[in-house]
Amino acid sequence: MKGRISLSRIAGRVSVGLLLLLLPAVPISAEDARELILAAYSVPKEAYERKIIPAFQRYWKQRTGQTVRVRSSYGASGAQARAILGGFEADVAALSLESDLDQIAKAGAISHDWRKGPHGGVITTSVVAFGTRKGNPKGIATWEDLARPGVEVLYPNPKTSGGAMWDIVAIYGAGLKLWAQQVGPGRSADGAAAEAYAAGLLKRIQRNVKVMDKSGRESVTTFERGIGDVIVTYENELLPRVWSGRPYEIIVPSETLLIENPVAVVDRHVDRHKVRDVAEAFVAFLHSDEAQAAFAELGFRPVNQAATVRARGAFPRPANLFTIADLGGWDAVRARLFGPQGLWTKTVEELARDG
């Protein structure tokens, strides 16, 4: 038959091709190279890749003469936690929420109490803030402004985004605080009324949300595409964009939530890979001046005292800052807001019914 393809020749070519392609994947191992696997959430990627990891590699070389190869993965905090639960053998987990680390601890992969470390295991902090268009055309200043009709609000879906959970917890906590301010010190012991007010505020703000992206970072890219009047997100998401010239304003409301990002060595994996010394040194390094300065340059609020002092100009101090501990801790808050009978879950259902 004219022009028939010879099957055996094709098979031969494909096999050779396959071999050639697969060869580069065979790793060439160096004698004194140690390998560290880092699983981090997506936001601090630049800090780690550009500054912290190279600095740590220099530091470790100087101290021990060994070369450290860092394999890093960046993704949504919850997704990274689940990957670790699913078998991803990260040696160090630097995540956005402590409850993601707790999940890993619950599965037994982290066996030490990471909260006992310096600064309670936290390496950076931030606050929940608003981003608006240049000139703040809608005059956003407080949480109530987000609830005004005609204001389009952006934040991601708390089911998929740790960042969104921080955002909604901030709304809730701010609601409680605002109510307490309104009624004065005498009546602030009335829990039910405060809860009702906070729930109402959350509902009015959620009504103004038309788009919920699946992660905080994607929320910012949506905002950049021109959607929405105000975005609720981490301050450290907004600062680098503004510093690189994007036309946004950052407003830190006076009642807002302190975001604390923890890091921990994953015991099960470091022992299996025999890199505990490197991993622990890496985590300690994250508290050093050099690492903290790198975080500060990206808009994170450093925990290291010296770096905080140097950076103080850039970070306004909210008058009524509160923390997740003030609200009872993540487990309690998660159940209260996001469980099947949770406040946020109910709010969404009510809004759908209202049409």
Partner: protein, 265 residues
């Protein structure tokens, strides 16, 4: 009537396909050709392209072989459960990639039988190349089977029966009678498989661990770039993938037209 219909088709294609792709093309070169080139030659981008090529090569080989076998079985044999088999084959189209990846984790996770067995043997499946290959095998499986089965049914068994009565054994019948008539279906199915494998994203994101310079395919690199606000890189790599796929498909069209012309000559 005819110009109206042709016009409708052009409008349909323009609104749905040509518009978005043209937009991507323009955006990719928005910063200039040198910026485009710089972004597709970064170590991360190159690693992504190589990894995607590796996975595609493996997937092509496996799914072409098994796809052909499955098509032969479906078209030439009759057995109990055939309808069920046929229904299952197309299921990967319906499974969202998040679920495809999730299923692999359910199957190979650390708490599972398979996971612990393979782990004990030192074989890493999840968060390494095997899982990525499995995920891609899953989503590309239907293509070759769907191309070949109706073709086999249409061709019929006369040629094959004739060869058998002339004394050919099964392998000879397949190689000299069946395969040549399947040629274009096979090439087309293989092309679609390759194109789909190149573009796979969701399932691979879940099972790869997205480790920089290790398990980041080209599409994962696009996502990483997008999330890093590096739109130039995202667009450039996306455009490259599209151009490669379009190139393969266009070559196929031209080759088919040539073959048809030869047959008519």
């Amino acid at each position: 009537m005819k110009p109206f219909l042709i016009g409708t088709v052009w409008l349909y294609f323009a609104a749905l396909l040509i518009g978005p792709i043209a937009y991507l093309s323009v955006q990719s070169f928005g910063e200039g050709v040198s910026a485009f080139w710089a972004e597709i030659t970064t170590p991360e981008a190159v690693h992504g392209f190589v990894l995607t090529a590796e996975i595609t090569a493996i997937v092509l080989t496996v799914n072409v072989v098994f796809g052909t076998i499955t098509a032969l079985v479906l078209a030439r044999q009759r057995f109990v459960g055939q309808t069920v088999l046929s229904g299952i084959i197309d299921l990967p189209f319906a499974v969202s990639p998040v679920i495809a990846g999730f299923m692999l984790i359910l199957l190979f996770g650390p708490e599972t039988i398979l996971g612990t067995m393979l782990g004990a043997a030192g074989i890493k499946v999840l968060f390494a190349l095997p899982a990525m290959v499995l995920a891609t095998l899953f989503v590309t499986f239907p293509f070759v089977v769907r191309e070949l089965t109706p073709l086999l049914q249409t061709i019929g068994t006369e040629g094959e029966e004739a060869a058998r009565t002339l004394g050919a054994n099964e392998w000879q019948v397949f190689l000299k009678v069946t395969l040549p008539s399947l040629r274009w279906g096979l090439i087309y199915g293989a092309t679609l498989t390759a194109a789909r494998a190149i573009g796979e994203f969701g399932a691979v994101l879940v099972v790869s661990g997205n480790i920089l310079m290790l398990t980041q395919t080209a599409t994962l690199h696009i996502y990483q770039s997008y999330v890093d606000f590096n739109y130039t890189a995202a667009n450039a790599v996306a455009f490259t993938l599209l151009a490669v796929s379009f190139g393969i498909l266009a070559l196929l069209e031209i080759a088919k037209a040539r073959a048809a012309a030869v047959l008519q000559a």
